[in-house]
């Protein structure tokens, strides 16, 4: 039986609530992540995916909703002790490897900060050993510990960020666009590293990104977000091959593939934002594990669409 490590229920994150400038960044989002799996959260700029991640890790105070980590509602935890404990279990890797490392700290101190805060090392020698092991784990050298971030490349800095996240032995890591700023071959290195670490330490990941091909590669399940709403959720294969929400379709049809023949044939599907028809919409199941943001009367239509798509592909093969 799969254990739900994270459960997000009806999460809302609004900014400037009540004013003319109110931004409903996360607007009633619900999903769960099982222990040991990777959940990919995909969407374009402004979709609310990064805000979702930051709210889960309590960098923002949610407007409404609950976030259950290992069964406990973390929106209710206050006080330094409980929050520190939560931060040991849940860590984050950030997008910008140039902005997320303190330029005035040595690499070993950056990595060890969490260890120091949590008192995880009893002697300086022990601290050094933990840090050196971490550096090696992420493919760097213990000698790199005495250097400063500016002496490293983007890919190396991202590895330092990963080492830092691992230092406190978390169970869950939120990866917020960890590879977008990196070159293609370095992306592959970092992705392979993340997958290896997951297997070794039974880590659970929330992988936030806009690169669908990479998300599909690393994720077990995927959620597609747009405009603060989760529009479609399903297994990686299911979403990629049988995504039926119009927004998912438009997103998938826009991805260029390193294949000139495919590119010549590819026809982009343009997304028309759905009219405000006042219908109550939420994520509804149209197939086992496959959910669509829809109204009650739309469910039958999506079920048929999905079935049709599956039949078509079955025949084509």
């Amino acid at each position: 039986m799969e254990k739900r490590l994270l459960e997000v229920n009806n999460l809302k994150q609004y900014f400037n609530t009540g004013s003319k400038n109110e931004v409903r960044a996360v607007n009633d989002v619900s999903f769960h992540i099982n222990e040991g799996e990777t959940f990919g959260l995909v969407g374009e700029s402004g979709s609310g995916k990064s805000t979702t991640g930051r709210t889960i890790i309590r960098l923002n105070q949610q407007t409404d909703g609950e976030i259950l980590f290992d069964g406990k509602d973390v929106t209710k935890i206050h006080g330094k002790t409980e929050l520190t404990k939560f931060r040991r279990d849940v860590q984050m890797i950030f997008q910008d490897p140039y902005a997320s490392l303190n330029p005035r700290m040595k690499v070993k101190d950056i990595i060890a900060e969490g260890i120091d805060v949590n008192g995880l090392a009893k002697t300086p020698k022990e601290r050094d050993k933990i840090v050196n092991d971490l550096l090696e784990t992420v493919g760097l050298n213990p000698s790199h510990g005495t250097r400063y971030p500016h002496e490293f490349s983007g890919g190396q800095r991202q590895r330092i960020g990963i080492a830092r996240a691992l230092a406190v032995r978390p169970r869950f890591i939120i990866c917020d666009e960890p590879i977008s700023a990196l070159d293609v071959s370095i992306q592959a290195q970092v992705v392979n590293l993340l997958q290896d670490l997951q297997k070794e330490h039974n880590l659970t990941y929330l992988f936030i990104a806009h690169d669908l091909s990479m998300v599909k590669h690393i994720s077990d399940r995927i959620g597609v977000m747009n405009n603060g709403h989760l529009l479609e959720v399903g297994s990686s294969d299911e979403i990629y091959h049988y995504g039926v929400h119009p927004y998912t379709e438009s997103l998938l049809s826009a991805i260029p593939m390193p294949d000139p023949d495919h590119e010549r044939q590819r026809r982009r599907i343009k997304y028309q934002t759905e009219p405000h028809d006042g219908k109550a919409r939420s994520l509804r199941e149209i197939a086992p594990g496959h959910f669509i943001y829809s109204s009650e009367d739309e469910v039958a239509y999506y079920k048929k669409k999905l079935q049709h798509l599956k039949n078509e592909k079955a025949v084509a093969v």
Partner: protein, 348 residues
């Protein structure tokens, strides 16, 4: 095929506190009229430096140590700054990666688009604004007439990039250099911009040099592809040849590190290590330390180009007659199979 640009033996270095960095080490390529040439490479490969050299927009610590850039029978390397100002924006135009930093935040977009025309073709303010309006309509800015007096911050990222494209095109340049124009944009906006560039190329018959590290984008836009590594071109060919019959191990690495529809949840083929320090370029093949398929000679001697066809050549010792036969990664073999099938079709 008519050549519109010829770059011969370009060698560029930068004077830095650490020493002389040899950023471009012998680059040759041509651009044919009406085509789109993609230059692919990662950070530090020299792709941006190459195109900035064409525009003579290098920083003051840069040296053009050797080479020629022939455009319309003249060598751009010899031109003075005053002469280059007549060419930039008028005959050769450029669009950059981040539209927010390439647009003037204190100038209305109407004025910015018109500026190029006024400077280069001595056109009146009224006429230039009309031309700007036409161009903004062409690039798909909605309600363009009302928005001529708007400022860049009032537009979205995709719209700003369209405005940048309008500025680049207003004088009908013969060559458009696009330096990672869609890297900072979402995938659907990227798709729109690429479609726009293709449309425009058809209408205006401009030749495009497209720089990117995204091979999906290359497959979408390019007629021909040049792959750069550590300041040199390592492989060049038509899009079909590069994607379905790649020969250089670095090209293999790039193609292999991208997840595809077919690839299951296994490891990506990742090229280990990182690009070399060009302060002290190695004497042999710069890719040698990261090259799974390296031969002993790669450490000693830089490989010359070996030709596979009129259009396809690669600088790898693997193509030398005495070289051992190697088995490339599975993903590459899959592509070679596709190429073989196509060849069979053509000869049948």
């Amino acid at each position: 095929m008519e050549k519109i640009l010829e770059v011969n033996n370009l060698n560029i270095s930068f004077d830095t506190y650490a020493g002389k960095v040899r950023a471009i080490r012998g680059v040759d390529f041509d651009l044919n009229k009406g085509e789109t040439l993609a230059i692919v490479g990662e950070s530090g490969s020299g792709k941006s430096v190459t195109t900035r050299t064409i525009m003579r927009l290098l920083s003051s610590n840069a040296n053009i140590d050797e080479g020629q850039i022939l455009f319309k029978g003249q060598d751009l390397v010899d031109k003075s700054e005053k002469e280059m100002q007549k060419i930039r924006g008028r005959e050769i135009a450029m669009i950059f990666q981040d539209p927010m930093t390439s647009l003037d935040p204190t100038m209305t977009i109407g004025k910015q688009v018109a500026e190029s025309l006024r400077k280069h073709k001595n056109v009146s303010k009224k006429e230039s604004l009309k031309a700007a309006l036409d161009l903004l309509n062409l690039v798909g800015i909605p309600d363009a007439e009302k928005r001529l007096k708007n400022y860049p911050h009032q537009f979205s990222g995709g719209q700003r990039q369209r405005i940048v494209i309008a500025i680049a095109l207003i004088c009908n340049p013969e060559i458009l250099i696009a330096d990672e124009p869609t890297t900072a944009l979402d995938v659907t906006i990227q798709a729109q911009i690429l479609e726009l560039l293709k449309e425009i190329q058809e209408k205006i018959e401009t030749s495009i040099i497209f720089i990117t590290h995204d091979l999906g984008v290359v497959a979408n836009v390019a007629d021909r592809v040049a792959v750069m590594y550590a300041g040199r071109i390592v492989e060049v060919g038509t899009a079909e040849e590069i994607f379905y019959n790649p020969q250089h191990p670095y090209t293999w690495g790039l193609l292999g590190s991208m997840p595809t529809l077919e690839s299951e949840n296994d490891r990506l083929y990742a090229i280990p290590g990182s690009p070399p320090d060009l302060l002290d370029p190695p004497k042999g093949d710069a890719f040698y330390p990261r090259n799974e398929f390296a031969l002993k000679i790669d450490a000693e001697m830089e490989p010359p180009f070996f030709e596979l066809s009129d259009t396809h050549k690669a600088a790898t010792w693997l193509l030398a007659p005495q070289a051992p036969v190697v088995t490339p990664p599975a993903e590459i073999q899959r592509r070679w199979d596709i190429f073989r099938k196509k060849q069979d079709q053509y000869s049948a």
